[in-house]
Amino acid sequence: MNRVVITGIGIYSTIGKNIAEVKDSLYNGKSGIVLDAERKKFGYQSGLTGKIERPQLKGVLERRSRISMPEHAEYAYMSTVEALKAANMSQEYLDNNIVGIIFGNDSSTPPVIEAVDIIREKKNTFSVGSASVFKSMNSSVTMNLSVVFKLKGINFTLSGACASGSHSIGMGYFLIKHGYQDCIICGGSQEINLFCVGSFDALGAFSNRESEPQKASRPFDKNRDGLVPSGGAATVILESYESAVKRGAPILAEVAGYGFSSDGKHLSVPDIDGPVRAINMSVKEAGINPNQIDYINAHATSTPLGDANEAQALDSVFGAYKPLVSSTKSMTGHEMWMAGASEIVYSVIMMQNSFVAQNINFEEPDEVTSKLNIANKRIDKEINMFLSNSFGFGGTNSSLIIKKFK
């Protein structure tokens, strides 16, 4: 069995376009949420969203790559360039070694709509042009980035709703641990555009606190009223310890365990037992006691039932030992397909800089969330090991345990 280490991280998010900016936002509790008037005009019940600028890639990437990338692949390109640089992994290395890619992603909305609109209007398919199919497929990110970086290893996209990014790291971890690959670029990506979460908004699951956008995402708080959709991309480079040492790469952290489960119950109602099984599996896989975990980056999205049930799950696993808990979604909003990967990046940043980010907007617990030790302010503290949870529609659950490399 190989030890699996993290040798590079990269981020392009609503709270910063690189690790340095994101570190600053996490440290200072900065929110990336806005009210988008265009969404309201379009018919959304909630116009709240994370806001992000699209990177300018003209002159950076050749035309074929640019026109074949949907918005979230551009974010993923940016976060991957940063992660590769952090990992000291050059294009020459990628050209001469087997490196894979697994990203979590679960939608690519505008290219599908635009293509169908053209076909309906023109009554032919050829007017859609050559790039649409590559932009519209769910595997668009891995398809594009594997060509851009000329990758020769495993290459696929993992769709597991809001746990996609986390499962992608879990899958990468297993493949390297069991010796099938030496290095995999893992991550998650999430589009932010007018069309992408219209059907999610239909469920009435988004916060309506439009008068105070930056206070709308308030995981675990008594007055939480729903999630705020967001997006961007995060990259986590996983590598066998042997490969990292051979390359002389920096080792940022070690993946200690991955646990997964399916609720087997409901499409959208969050469960307690399913998450408990995933967390317990990750603990067992890591070969640790729960009381070795210093910090939990919760899935908590700011929905009334989801947060309460995660609090119950955490309470049932950790009991009297109450590790610090925060949900960085209080700042970023819910980064959905990306969240499981970005929250590993956020937590590794905290681990490297010895602080637990504040769960902003947590003013008062309710009966259930009062069972947790929630960071209601930034806490300067050494983190040796953390747990990151991600849960998604259909009851897919993923838990990752990351520890300091020693």
Binding site: R64, G129, S130, A131
Partner: protein, 83 residues
């Protein structure tokens, strides 16, 4: 009806604007694939633009003879002449 010079101008313009090909490479005898670097996917987009600009739908079997930039302009010119 469009003159050949007009067709050349339109074609060259979209090769520069859409395909980011350097203008000094756009010589009549330039080979579309080898000299201008166009590939199979690019021909799908060229077909869309040509249809939009000239109302001409490419016929696959006739395209086998279109090798150079001048061949492409002549193909469009001859089509428009026949209309």
């Amino acid at each position: 009806m469009k003159q050949k010079e007009e067709i050349v101008k339109i074609i060259n313009n979209f090769l520069v604007e859409e395909f980011e090909i350097e203008e000094n490479k756009l010589k009549p005898d330039a080979l579309l694939q080898n000299d201008l670097g166009l590939e199979s996917l690019d021909f799908v987009d060229i077909a869309v633009i040509v249809e939009k600009e000239f109302g001409l739908k490419f016929k696959g079997e006739e395209m086998t003879n279109v090798k150079t930039l001048d061949d492409l302009c002549n193909y469009i010119y001859n089509y428009l002449k026949q209309q």
